[in-house]
Point group: C2
Chain length 152, copies 2
DNA sequence: GATTTCTGATACCAATTTAGTATCAGTTAA
DNA sequence: TTAACTGATACTAAATTGGTATCAGAAATC
């Protein structure tokens, strides 16, 4: 059971890349290199993020993309929704008329609960938070390296 | 983002059907009719459930399938795992060497947390629990009907 | 103004997955 | 012996996934 597909995964990584550069426009090429994301695929993903308003762009030489909101205001839940739609269980239970059979609706009930939980969690994980985590990890690694050098 | 696929969905429904019949062997045909699941598809699903040990079968006329465990001991998490594998995020983060890029691992960290939560929840939803819920709903509907008849 | 560097839009593609069908062999009860 | 079953497995169409390619147009720069 795969939770995130490549589009969402790459999108989040691209957003992290953008969030870590506070200055100016960043080209798809740069992000593609940085995050090892296939260029054309990334292009399409960025265009989607632009259409969704998470990112803004500038055409032409020297142009590129940048975040349209503060990293702390971009939740992973939004990204998932853009590329994979709202979290939902077996679709037969949502669309169309409610399932003819009641056992189904019982399952539906339980899973809607879990679904909300998941959504809630992913709403609290923002690009900003991920960047903070990332910086914390990097700082820790640096300290560790320094300590090792000192003991050598 | 679809959480459960048809196989899992049908499997759970079939298990509910079986759990509600305490007596003897039930044929795939009966379950198929009861739950409106395509017969041949259900057959394959049942065979998988048998191989996985959740269900046992008896061949020949008068044969069929039945639960191999108490409904309360069959968690939806098991069923998901059989048909969709373990809950996991973007696979690149699990298999192969840990991702070259660190931002990735940060996302991975957050999502493993959510992943565990989801697994935990689905482990607590058993076929027995679903059947109890179902019976409660049915009882409530019956009471409501009686009340309406009384006021007529 | 030509060239280079960029995005916008969109069409295409192969591989995989999903959901479902079909068939044949073998078992058992009546 | 025949009807009602499961076991095993092969097949298929359609959708999805992950990725590629192309062409047009915008802006900075030479």
């Amino acid at each position: 059971m795969k939770v995130l597909n490549k589009e969402t995964d790459y999108a989040v990584r691209a957003l992290i890349s953008l969030g870590m550069k506070s200055d100016g426009w960043v080209s798809a090429k740069v992000i593609s290199d940085e995050q090892a994301i296939p260029y054309q695929f990334l292009r399409r993903i960025l265009q989607e993020l632009i259409r969704s308003g998470l990112v803004e762009s500038k055409e032409g030489a020297g142009g590129g993309v940048r975040l349209a909101k503060e990293p702390g205001l971009i939740a992973v839940a939004e990204v998932i929704e853009i590329f994979q739609g709202k979290v939902q269980l077996s679709e037969c239970m949502f669309r169309k008329q409610l399932c003819s059979n009641r056992a189904n609706c019982v399952l539906r009930h339980e899973i809607m609960r879990i679904e909300k939980m998941v959504n809630n969690e992913f709403s609290q994980v923002t690009i900003g938070k991920l960047i903070d985590d990332l910086k914390a990890v990097e700082a820790m690694n640096k300290t560790r390296q320094t300590e090792q050098q000192e003991t050598v």
